[in-house]
């Protein structure tokens, strides 16, 4: 399982990359593996929306499962990855790169400190695998 060191994570399997006051959000390698082939992506928020940490921001579907993506942060949506709707398989092939989902302008950058560090997330995933 790949867990890049420069990201922060949630217990619901989202990752966040913070650059200045902009957070980029996606789902983790663990999540894409658990879902298997992703066939559908839909953002349920629009650019300009104010969202709070925990809000449902996107839906993913594979052949066997469905997952809600929740925002790890609070702020304003500034970009949505338009490619994902037509190429949802990117979530499987490049979860931390081409499959970014949303960019959010953070209203409180200190909020990200509460998120899991890479090693904490790895440990958390260990406890879940059977």
């Amino acid at each position: 399982m790949n867990t890049p060191a420069d990201l922060r994570y949630t217990r619901t399997d989202e990752w966040v990359k913070v650059e200045g006051n902009i957070a980029t959000i996606g789902v983790t390698d663990y999540a894409q593996d658990a879902l298997s082939d992703v066939v559908f992506f839909e953002a349920v928020v629009s650019v300009g929306d104010e969202i709070r940490a925990g809000d449902h921001i996107a839906t993913l579907e594979s052949v066997k499962a469905a997952a809600e993506v929740n925002s790890p942060v609070t702020g304003k949506v500034v970009a949505i990855n338009e490619n994902l709707a037509s190429s949802p398989e990117l979530v499987n092939s490049d979860p931390y790169g081409a499959a970014w989902m949303l960019k959010v302008e953070l209203s409180d950058p200190s909020e990200t400190a509460k998120l899991l560090a890479p090693e904490e997330y790895d440990q958390y995933c260990q406890t879940r695998s059977h």
């Binding site: 066939v39 579907e61 052949v63 066997k64 398989e89 059977h130």
Partner: protein, 487 residues
């Protein structure tokens, strides 16, 4: 060669049936409303009969062999049921005919209601729901109406064990409730401590399946029901597994307030390739007034000379109608016939043999497959479809390989609480020979998994088509004979 579709078989100018010319003068057609094109296929009767006969041969069915699809109760469908359901007195009656002309139908429905009350231990039954899932919705709406009627509007939650069918939480959500998931304890029962910790006056009720989807009779059933009743909640029983309890125990006696019956699972009406089902709902005395109407009732008692007269009544506080007319009457005729042919002892034998068959399979497979909740089961049980020493093999591979042995696979990946679940329900209509054949196949597959894992990975080999590409189906979405983007 794949079977062509009816559109590919179409040949302009053909038709499979002709109708007489009109015996009355023609009237002008409404020109503003006429359609310009009717893009239906054109086939002869022979074309049609051969096409659907060929299609039928691509299916596996109970008529061919064991169909151990857990939770679905694929038992033999007696042919006599099909025969009687086709009597013209049943098939040719219109649902809005005068009551005097349908006393046979009403008598049959009345008796079936009475019998289901007796079998389930309930005070009232509606035959209206079209399927188990609709029975659940009906039951939860009854629960809601009951609380609202008492002015008790604080209840917003339904408790549902994590082993439940997906229809349970979906039906609760459709009825406006929040779902609280209840974990399963290591014995495969509802986790009683957790349950007690969430029982309060916000709980509208609980939905339980007993035997549960692990095939186990919940050993905590009585304390679970008492805990929910104590805080004013109601208990919904998912009757999907009633096959194991016929004549063994009555859900109503255990304290269950509402339950749906699956006529197809319990009383052998055919599954029809995915319906029609039929999901009558039974309720305790305090809930009879909330049943959907209309309900068949004996409106005039008969005497020695005059038969009783049956009609419809509307329950006083009914949640309303859940379906057109009176439910799946054709399925009621079949279930009625099945119950009539069994009688009380016969029904108990159904449950006994179903449970015997499942335990026999469990005993014989226990050494080859891991059983996560291993104790005497009821009518079904759950195995893990994987082995530590061959990590590449998953439950799906085992299922697909079973097809090469001419057996329909068990239910895969359900219940969700068992990894790589294989949920096996042989039903009472399988003989020992048929069970032994199944065990042999399962043992061979376990062996092959170690020696020739690719045989499993690439299975099935002997079926009309090989493994299908589900990802392509979901991404490219071709849902009818022309591509979806046909404009």
């Amino acid at each position: 060669m794949p079977e062509p579709t009816i559109f590919e078989l179409s040949s302009p100018g053909r038709t499979g049936v002709t109708f007489p010319t009109s015996d009355v003068p023609e009237s002008p057609l409404p020109v503003d409303f006429l359609r310009s094109d009717l893009p239906l296929p054109e086939m002869s009767e022979v074309d049609v009969v051969r096409h659907f006969t060929r299609l039928s041969k691509l299916n596996y069915s109970i008529d061919q062999g064991i169909y151990p699809l857990g939770s679905c109760t694929m038992k033999y469908n007696p042919r006599v049921n099909e025969m009687v359901a086709r009597f013209s007195g049943f098939t040719q009656t219109h649902p809005l005919q005068p009551l005097e002309t349908v006393q046979g139908n009403l008598y049959l429905m009345y008796l079936l209601q009475e019998w289901l009350k007796e079998i389930g231990g309930f005070a009232g039954v509606t035959l209206q729901p079209a399927a188990g899932a609709q029975g659940e919705l009906t039951g939860i709406l009854i629960m809601r109406a009951y609380h609202v009627d008492r002015g008790d509007t604080r209840r917003t939650r339904i408790l549902i064990p994590d082993s439940a069918h997906g229809t349970n939480p979906a039906s609760s959500a459709m009825s406006g409730y929040e779902v609280i998931n209840i974990p399963t304890d290591p014995r495969g029962n509802i986790d009683l401590n957790f349950l007690q910790s969430v029982c309060d006056d916000r709980v509208a009720g609980i939905m339980i399946t007993n035997p549960n989807t692990l095939g186990l009779f919940d050993q905590n059933i009585i304390p679970v029901i008492q805990a929910v009743h104590r805080v004013g909640g109601l208990v919904y029983g998912d009757g999907a597994n009633l096959n194991a309890l016929l004549g063994i125990a009555r859900p109503g006696d255990l304290g269950i307030d509402i339950m749906h019956f699956n006529l197809h699972k319990t009383f052998a009406t055919p599954h029809g390739g995915g319906g029609p089902g039929s999901g009558p709902v039974g309720v305790a005395a305090s809930l009879v007034d909330f049943l959907p109407g209309p309900i068949v009732s004996m409106v005039e008692e008969g005497d020695e000379d005059i038969p009783p007269f049956f009609g419809f009544v509307q329950p006083a506080k009914s949640i309303g109608r859940v379906k057109s007319f009176f439910g799946h009457f054709g399925m009621m005729v079949r279930a009625f016939t099945y119950i009539a042919m069994h009688g009380p002892e016969g029904l108990r034998k159904v449950a006994e043999n179903a449970v015997l068959n499942a335990n026999y399979l469990l005993a014989r497979l226990r050494n080859t497959y891991h059983v996560p909740y291993d104790r005497i089961c009821m009518h079904e049980f759950v195995l893990e479809g994987r082995w530590k020493e061959v990590p590449e093999i998953i439950a799906l591979d085992i299922s697909k390989r079973l097809m090469d042995y001419g057996i329909h696979p068990p239910t895969n990946y359900f219940p969700l609480i068992v990894h790589d679940a294989l949920m096996i329900e042989p039903t009472e209509t399988e003989s020992k020979d048929s069970l032994d054949y199944f065990v042999d196949a399962m043992e061979k597959i376990a062996f092959e998994a170690r020696t020739h894992p690719e045989w499993l990975k690439e299975a099935p080999h002997q079926t009309p088509v090989r493994r299908v590409d589900e990802v392509k189906a979901a991404k490219e979405l071709v849902l009818c004979c022309q591509p979806i983007d046909r404009e």
